[in-house]
């Protein structure tokens, strides 16, 4: 009697171990998918923020006739020189605007980086402002 009871318990244990083994494999796959999903959502959020910030910077750059200093005065929280501008977007994004060109057509290279890696870039072109106006 006890042997049969022991045998039943043993069989149950073996079955449970096999079930847990399959569950472990499935859970591992699920956790990988969850982690990938979370990472993808964060990347999507960063990309969305980057495109919006880059578009706003490009609009300002065009409206200011390619003048970095005027652009920096309109945008909040900028560090700038004559030829470049840096702005922090959110917690981990950095936007950089670099001015190039001395003629009538001014090119602005806008780059958004996160943790050192570039996630979005945009070229903006502006007509240099003439004297006495924009």
């Amino acid at each position: 009697m006890n042997t049969r009871g022991g045998s039943k318990t043993g069989l149950f244990l073996i079955e449970l171990v096999i079930v847990i083994l399959f569950f472990s494999v499935s859970a591992t796959i699920c956790m990988r998918i969850f982690a990938f999903s979370y990472t993808a959502a964060n990347h999507s959020r960063d990309l969305s923020d980057a495109t919006a910030a880059a578009a706003a910077t490009a609009e300002c750059f065009k409206a200011c006739g390619g003048d970095i200093i005027k652009t920096a005065e309109i945008l909040d929280g900028c560090e700038y020189t004559d030829d470049s501008l840096t702005r922090q977007i959110g917690e981990n994004l950095t936007l950089t605007l670099t001015r190039a060109g001395d003629g009538k057509l001014i090119r602005g290279k806008i780059t958004v980086t996160a943790d050192g890696g570039e996630i979005y870039s945009l070229d903006a072109y502006a007509i240099a402002a003439s004297e006495g106006g924009q």
């Binding site: 006890n2 009871g5 022991g6 318990t9 043993g10 149950f12 244990l13 449970l16 171990v17 079930v19 847990i20 569950f23 472990s24 859970a27 699920c30 956790m31 969850f34 999903s37 979370y38 959502a41 964060n42 999507s44 959020r45 969305s48 919006a52 578009a55 706003a56 609009e59 300002c60 065009k62 409206a63 309109i74 924009q134």
Partner: protein, 162 residues
């Protein structure tokens, strides 16, 4: 004595099986909770981003649709910041007011010269706040929550202030 030993071993078997089953149940619950948490955060994040972007995208599209010299201006009406789009159809001049009132972006279409009753505007999309600022020259800044966009006139400087 032998009987007691067998009963003890039998009890240990049962406890081991139950413990293993409890560990399995806890693991299942942990995986389910993790999945639900990731789904909730992802859905919330995407919904928040979509909501803020779509409001400003609508305003920008509306302004650029009527892009032209003197066509798009800003004003404060009854304490509300509004975007005013001026359109001419033959001899008739109409104004479209875009503003935020009672939690919605609204649009009011009226003839020029008619006093605008902003409470009659048609609801477009939900929005907590929408503020327009004329930055001078050819640029208007629209701020919705924490997001902002700059709308510049492609056809020339934005003129008459109303």
């Amino acid at each position: 004595m032998l009987r007691n030993k067998r009963s003890i071993l039998s009890g240990i078997d049962v406890v081991a099986a139950l413990t293993l089953f409890c560990v399995f149940a806890v693991s299942v619950l942990f995986v389910l909770a993790s999945g639900a948490g990731v789904y909730r955060s992802t859905a919330s994040l995407l919904d928040q981003r979509y909501t803020s972007r779509i409001q400003l995208a609508y305003v920008a599209a509306k302004a650029r649709d009527s892009d032209g010299i003197g066509s798009v201006t800003t004003a404060t009406i009854d304490g509300l910041s509004a975007l005013i789009i001026r359109e001419e159809y033959g001899n008739a001049v109409t104004l479209t007011y875009v503003y935020c009132l009672d939690g919605y972006i609204r649009e009011l279409y009226a003839d020029e010269g008619v006093a605008a009753d902003l409470s009659l505007g048609e609801k477009i999309i939900e929005c907590d706040s929408l503020v327009f600022t004329d930055m001078g020259g050819s640029m208007i800044k629209a701020v919705c929550g924490e997001d902002e966009i700059f709308i510049t006139s492609r056809c020339g400087e934005i003129g008459d202030k109303r």
